[in-house]
Point group: C2
DNA sequence: TTGCAAATGCAACAGTGTTGCATTATGAAA
DNA sequence: TTTCATAATGCAACACTGTTGCATTTGCAA
């Protein structure tokens, strides 16, 4: 078969592969009602793979738009599944952070408004409410 | 002098002391238009004291209500001076995080509203807007 | 089935924050 | 001013989180 430019580009394109680690981690996050940290994922998967692999899988899933990163108010990075961003990725929803059990939940139906300050160009919002979750209150 | 219960309590009470490190760090933060990270403070003070001391001074200033902690969207912890919390400490203002110069600014005059989700008890809010600051846009 | 390269495991590293303990120095009391 | 209890510091050592390089394994298209 003759290789045209498109074929050459296709050949150059990095092809993604499905691995056990990727599948398991994705399902774990998708089935979790709360966002999960790297440590929590490591505990849950229990030796499924190296901790470096977890970092790399999380990076890959984030780039692919299957999960999104949430930085908790205490600085702990957590990951949650993407539910309502099939066409365009809009992660500008509010998150709730429980001060007791440290859980982070996506509140995708809660709306918020604010007066845009002039002089600043806003491109992203990161809103987190803290307090007690239903389980802890 | 006979020591009554109150005197004994007074004696027990931990007295705060003013030190060079504490004064310098507090003034540095107070005079900064943007929130400063531990690393930035360490660079700015340039060998004034040990890095552990900076951590402890920041902790003390936070407890005393002279500064407040801000966790940036990238997880970096920064500290900003408290301006409008002389009586009660209300740090529920919006912060702005510049994606280019990584600066964090307190937007104390910007108001925001949101529909409080039921089932959750809200006690704190942590809102950060990202984009380009006046200097970078 | 074969072979390329995506993905992994492992070691080693850098950055950040904490803790214990000996030493220093602050400020109230004498 | 001097004394002295203890708040504060310096230093070493540690734990935790995240990254990088490289050899090896493994997924999958040809
Ligand atoms: Zn909870
Ligand atoms: Zn979310
Ligand atoms: Zn900027
Ligand atoms: Zn602030």
């Amino acid at each position: 078969m003759q290789q045209c430019c498109i074929m050459k580009l296709k050949k150059k394109m990095k092809t993604v592969r499905n691995t056990t680690a990727k599948t398991e981690i994705q399902e774990l996050i998708a089935n979790s009602p709360v966002a999960l940290s790297h440590t929590e994922i490591q505990s849950a998967t229990n030796g499924l793979c190296d901790r470096v692999t977890i970092y790399r899988v999380l990076e890959r899933l984030t780039v692919e738009g299957l999960i999104h990163k949430v930085v908790n108010v205490d600085g702990v990075v957590k990951y949650a599944g993407c539910h309502s961003c099939s066409e365009k990725h809009n992660h500008n929803h509010i998150h709730f952070s429980c001060q007791k059990c440290k859980s982070v939940t996506c509140l995708e139906d809660v709306e918020s408004t604010f007066k845009m300050p002039k002089k600043y160009i806003i491109s992203e919002m990161n809103f987190t409410l803290s307090g007690l979750c239903p389980q802890c209150s």
